[in-house]
Each structure stands twice: as C-alpha cells, then as structure tokens.
Symmetry: C2
C-alpha cells in the first residue's frame, strides 16, 4: 500500500524524549543502531535534542556532538560518552527483564549517554559549568577515535578542570587509568642441524634470562591520590623454531608492561629497558596512563557527592585522552563492564537511576 504522506524514514532524525526516565531513554538510544562508523543517525538525534535546550550551545564535528553551559562558573567539568557500539550480535531491539535492560550497547555505553542527556536536559543551572561530549568510534582502532580527533582539532572545546567518562563501572568511581607498553625482545643465534647442535647457537636457550627476569619481577603497587594501582610486566607471546631438527636462530618474546600513572611513557620504556638490560628491546606501541586527579576541588566534591569509595582503574580507557590534555578524569557510569561486548549485554535500570541521582547531587549541591 502506498503511503505518500509518510515521512521519508531513512532521512528522518529519530526524536529523543529527554523527559522520560534514564532507563527508557537508554532503550530508545539502544534501538538506534550505531556500530562504529555508522553513528550519523544517533549523532543527528542527539544534536537535534540538545539544540532544543536554550541553556546550551552546541557544536558538531563529524559524528561528535559537544554541548556547553556558559554560566561563568569558577570550574568547568566534562561529562563524556561514546555513541558507538561493537557489532550487533542478534541482540536488538532491546528488551526489559525485571530490573535489567538487555541489548547491544545497554552497558557499553548508551546507559551512560542517557544519563548525560538527562543531566543536560534537567540541570539547566549547574554549580559548575558543564561540557557534554558525545563522540564516535571508541570501539575501533585508536586513530579513528572521535575523542582523539576532538583533542587534536578542537582542544578548546574540551578545556575543563575535571572530566567524568561515563563508561560502565557499576556506578563506582574508578580513578585515572594505568598506561600500557608493548615491546619485542629478540634473541638471535645460528642455525645448524640438531644432530650437530654444537655447530649452531640456540636462540631459544638464550631467552632463558628474559623469562627468569619476568618470573622474578616484583610489580609495584604505588598509591596515588589515595588509590592503589597495581603494575604488571608480562610475556604475552613467545615464539621460536625453524623445524624439528634445526637449532633455531631467533626467539621472540613480546612483553606487555601495565604501569601506574605516576610513570610517563618515557619512564615506563626506560624501566623496561633496564629490566631487560643487555637484550635487544624494541617498543612497538604504548599508551600513556591517566592520573586520577582526585585532589582537584571538582574531583573531591565529585567523590563526596557520589558517596563512593574510589578505586584505581587498571585497564586503559579514554580518560587517558583527557589526562593528556592536562584534565584529571575518572570513570563513573551505570553499565556493568563484565557484560560489555557480550551477546547478553545488559544494564541495571536502578544503576542508571542511581548514577543520574549522584551526578545531579554533585552538580546541584
């Protein structure tokens, strides 16, 4: 049947009703698919909804949307979240079972985005100026990351005293994040037939001290801003061997150093080189950590208002991008990280309410 009066569905921007509950708004966002690289429709919906709020100024860069209050407050804080999801795994549309909302992106992290939008709509006169950042391509390779693009092209848009990234933490405050560095350590020798091994030089045997040093390594657990971090230096791969009757002439050990945010990437590299002194060490990639910055006034007030006991964040997250801009940042969001990227991904509706309530308390106290 022809419906000439219907709007062209593909070009229509889905409407977001920011007066519904955080749980309902999360479901609405989840039902707008936005796998990394396909965030245009959801970014349009967020932009249109924010432009209806007269207390905000709104900017757009690709599929990132930035909205700001401009009240001249003494402090400015960022509430940030990404709009994209991992690929859908037969888990759309969303559905509710008791207190749980199921579906792709419920936990990671459209529940956090819903809380951002609810705060944007319902806290028109916060005690601190707020910058809301919604960005694209967090779930894919770092060079495509929307927050990284904003930091490069519009660092002024991100300027703030403190940032909260609403990635799922089960509504707990996780401060900063550890850095990560990967390095290849290679030993070399000389091939020979294994029947005449003494004519060769076994590169696998020469890797013994590398593994010994790893096995003996005592990881540090520094306390920073009251949070205990926990470093780790580990082999994540080893390979060597030419054939079952050949003395191998090369052995590769790939190590991953996870380091507390009181080390810079340069200091982390120097440490790894010191541990493996005498060996050929090539750093293949690294990412800086992020200091929790909990001694900043905005951060201290945040911790007090949210009534949680902060813990250290061990995994690397986008808070490190804020840290690189000189902005202390924490993770605080309603999602359950244990269910991120899973087929049965879900989020607690009450955690969404709780997160919104605590942020509201902080921004209105």
């Amino acid at each position: 049947m022809s419906r000439p009066d219907a709007p062209a569905a593909e070009s229509a921007v889905p409407e977001l009703d920011l007066s519904t509950t955080g749980g309902q708004l999360t479901a609405r966002l989840v039902d707008i698919p936005s796998v990394s690289g396909s965030e245009q429709v959801i970014a349009d919906a967020v932009e249109v909804a924010l432009r209806k709020l007269p207390h905000l100024t709104v900017e757009r860069d690709g599929n990132a949307v930035i909205a700001r209050t401009n009240l001249g407050r003494a402090e400015r804080v960022v509430l940030a979240g990404h709009l994209d999801t991992v690929p859908i795994a037969d888990n759309l549309p969303s559905h509710v079972e008791g207190d749980l909302l199921y579906g792709c992106g419920t936990s990671d992290m459209k529940s956090g985005v819903a809380v951002q939008l609810r705060i944007a709509a319902t806290v028109p006169e916060p005690n601190r100026d707020i910058t809301f950042v919604f960005y694209d391509c967090e779930e894919v390779e770092a060079r495509r990351n929307g927050l990284g693009r904003l930091a490069k092209h519009h660092p002024d848009w991100l300027a703030a005293d403190f940032a909260v990234l609403l990635e799922g933490t089960n509504a707990q405050v996780e401060g900063g994040c550890q850095g990560t560095l990967r390095a290849e350590i290679r030993t070399t020798g000389q091939r020979a037939h294994s029947a005449r091994a003494w004519l060769g030089d076994n590169a696998i045997h020469k890797a013994a001290p590398i593994l010994e040093r790893l096995a003996a390594y005592e990881a540090e657990r520094p306390v920073i801003d009251g949070l205990e971090y926990h470093e780790g230096l580990n082999a994540v791969r080893i390979e060597g061997g030419v054939a079952n009757n050949v003395i191998p002439d090369e052995c590769l050990v790939v190590v991953n150093f996870r380091y507390a945010p009181n080390r810079s990437p340069e200091q982390a590299e120097a440490h790894v080189r010191e541990v493996f002194d005498g060996f050929d060490v090539v750093v293949t990639d690294f990412a800086a950590g992020a200091l929790p910055g909990l001694s900043q006034p905005a951060a201290a007030a945040f911790v007090e208002a949210t009534s949680t006991t902060p813990t250290a964040k061990f995994g690397w997250t986008d808070v490190a991008r804020f840290s690189a801009l000189g902005i202390p940042a924490v993770n605080f969001g309603p999602g359950d990280p244990n269910y991120a990227h899973k087929r049965d991904e879900h989020c607690s509706l009450s955690a969404i309410e709780e997160t919104e309530k605590r942020l509201r308390a902080w921004l209105q106290s």
Copy 2:
C-alpha cells in the same frame, strides 16, 4: 614417421653394463629417474643385471632387490644402498665437468649403488659372503622405507655379521649413528586480562626453568669403539600466547635429544625426564641409535682394508635399522653429503673409483 620395429620404450627394462667404470655406471643409473615411489624401472634394471651373474641368488620384494653369494664363508656382510632420490630439480640428465659428475642422485646415492653393482659383478669369490641390498623409499617418511619393510617381512634375507651402508661419506668410514628423541614440555597457567595480571598465572614465565636447564645442559661425548660421539639436548620450538593483552595459560617447548648409541631409547627418555623433572613431558617420537660395532672381526678388517680413520656418525641413518636387527653397521660411500638434496648435487668420479678399490681390497684380501 612410424617405427614399427622399435621396442616399446615404456615397458623396456634399461640395460646396465656392469663392465663400465663406476663413474659411467653411476651416470647410467642417474639417467633412470627414480624419485621415491617410482623406483620400478630402476629396480627392474638392477634385478635383470644381477640375474645374469651366476654366482648370485636374487630375491625381489616390491622395488627392493637382494642378491647373495652362497660360498659358505665364516662371515657374511651386507652392502646396502637405496635406489630412490629426492624430486628432480632440473638437474637431469647427468653431465660431467672434469672429475665431477652432476645430477640428481649422483651423491645420494647412485654412486654408492654403482659401486655395489661393480663389486657384485667383479668379485665372484669374496673372502666373506656378501648380501647386496638395493631398496626403495629411503627419502620419504619412515613407514614407507624399503629397508624397514625388508626387516619386517624378510629379516632372514638381511642376516649378517656386519653391514656397510654406501650413503655418501666422502669415502670415509662413519661408525654407527646417534639416536634421536623429541618431547613436548608444556606449562599451564590461568588466563587473565594483562591489565589485571595478578588474577592470572603466566605459563610463559613458568617455562623459565625449562630454558635455564637447556642453557645449562652439558652434553656428553662418550667414546664407543674408539669413536667420539657428541650428544645434544636442544629446544627446537617454543610457543605461547593468546593475544597481546592476555596472560597466557599455556606454553609449549619442543626439545630434541640426540643421543649416543650407548643409550637405548628407553634410557634416553629416562634421561630427558630426569632433566625436566617436575614438568609435564610427552615423548612424541624417537629413533634408536646404532652402535658402530668396530670391534667385530669383519668390521676391524674393513677399517684396516679401507685405510681410513673412522669417525662417529651424528645424524640418524638407516644403519640404525641394521643395528635394530643386531647387525653392527657403518656408513661408507663415495658421495659428498654436503651436496645431497641440492640442485647442484654432484659426486667425484675419483671418489667412486677409490671406494670401489677399497671395498674390493677388503673383500679380496
């Protein structure tokens, strides 16, 4: 043009003239392609040539041919060689350059086969009874080996006091051969995200003592029948790792033990298990070594008659099959082992003459 009087080339058996020089006979054999599995034509040619010699009785099993003198001598010796070659590498037909005969199989080991045939034809009344063994499929997997098949189906055909395998040794006597054993040594742990390494248990780190023991291992060099062997215990492969951010839960080290022939395979295995005491050791394959047996009268006479200083054979060869039958055996042949399996494979014509001359001296002294 039609040639109705020509013989059907494909069914004709090439004629071998055993009165030519060893070099000429080698070239003739080389020009009959006999890649492993395709030895029928050359085996037919050898069988037909041997059946013309009235002092020999001839047996056939598949593409193996066995010829024997039956003079009732006090001792019986075997002269053995394989008829097959590795795949042809654009190196046929054979050609001569100075003293060198080039082509696939010249060194490994049709020059040795030519010497066997020359002795068969020209020493009708040897001082020791001789069993000539020509066999198939030496260059492929062990289960197809023609000598292994004969040892299984007709051990009586191989019965002897001493055996000479005419594999290329540059006309030097190489005694016995070392055994070989491969084992997998595995460590296990517990996976975890590398950002929280303390929740896991790194299997690669646990392999440190395996590599330490290998690096510290002091190989024995036992002297047997005056020959110095040289053992070796080596890692030939190592692998471990799940992903660049995961603590690995398994690491595999494959070791190869090359052992002197005074150890049985069981003793070799016990030794490896002792070295890696406390680890999970699985023996995946092994082959027994072969004692040189140079104290046997036939062997002592052989060494004296050939005027060479015997050395130990480190690599595994088919002499071990004779050893398994209780027959001491040595390698002694005209080929140059350094050119076996190579495109520019070749053999010295004078080494062929020299080998034949020394064997004749031994069998006619």
